[in-house]
């Protein structure tokens, strides 16, 4: 488990360093994810070491958003007089984006014959 955690943190650290050094708009952890993916694709034994720990962290991904969520409560007044407009913008645009994204995927999947096996 310690080996897997070390590898995950090393990937994140490398990602943060590269993102900062090159001034990329991509966050460090996303680059770290790409790096870990490349490493796992390169070595099956390494993939087996990381897999159980990675799955363990992701099983309760929801938990990790709780501290930030609690912080939001104290700042709800920041929405102020624009709360209604912002609430409506968020609900409608999120619904539209989910529907449009899923429909676009489905349409292109049909056109290119990409079936789920």
């Amino acid at each position: 488990m310690i080996r897997a955690l070390t590898l995950i943190l090393l990937c994140q650290l490398a990602g943060e360093a590269v993102a900062r050094a090159l001034g990329l708009p991509v966050p460090g952890p996303v680059l770290g994810m790409a790096l870990l993916w490349a490493l796992m694709s390169g070595s099956a034994s390494l993939a087996e070491i990381v897999r159980p720990v990675g799955e363990g962290i992701l099983r309760h991904l929801s938990l990790l958003f709780v501290p930030a969520g609690v912080g939001v409560i104290g700042h709800l007044d920041r929405l102020g007089s624009q709360a209604l407009a912002l609430g409506l913008a968020i609900v409608v645009s999120t619904a539209l984006a989910i529907a449009a994204g899923a429909l676009a995927f489905t349409l292109v999947a049909r056109l290119t014959g990409s079936r789920d096996a």
């Binding site: 952890p29 870990l36 930030a68 969520g69 407009a85 913008a89 989910i98 429909l103």
Partner: protein, 238 residues
Amino acid sequence: MHDFAEIWSYLAQGPLLWLTLTLVAYVIADLIAEQAGRKPIANPVLIAVVLLGLMLWATGTPYAVYFEGAQFVHFLLGPATVALAVPMHAQGARLKRAILPVLAGVSVGSVVAVTSALAIAKAMGVDMETLASLAPKSTTAPVAIGIAQTLGGSPTLTAVLVILTGITGALIATPLLNALRLKDWRARGLAVGTAAHGIGTARAFQVHPTAGAFAGIGMGLNAILTALIAPAVLRLFL
């Protein structure tokens, strides 16, 4: 024998108390969500946040004190993002077969998320700084804050809007996609990750592993894409 207030103030000094209570609130929230058959309305993030908010309010605890304990949980967001490589690696072959639909889904979802939010807010008279804070609300929090700052928005307001968007996406995705009769777990997951970042991805993992993996991909690609398109889209609403 110490009285309760004395013990409380001793415990409240260290990170143990609020770290533990964060986990307790989440375990309770997860049990409630399980009892409710994982219905979207019983969202564990939302329930745990409300429970902790009430606890902070009742004990008069400032958020900074709470965060000293909760930061250990918060820190894991980074490693968890890296760990998304695990389901993506497991789904590698399916992902390769679906590369064009993935790119189409993320591009359309990303543009619609930014443009429609700005159009609605602008029509309702929202000011410029707030529009800049709203533009990146579908991307994962650290990226959204970076984008908002470049556009002249407020980091705090952006964080609030990002979390509200995530919870909204997690609540509405299942009924919305059912109403559209879309059954492809890849399409469903990708769209939720694109529109509602990590909180949507967490919901997708609860529903189906394929949806979770594709949601992670949607979240990652959308972070990059929004950073590229948000400045141009915002300019349309100047």
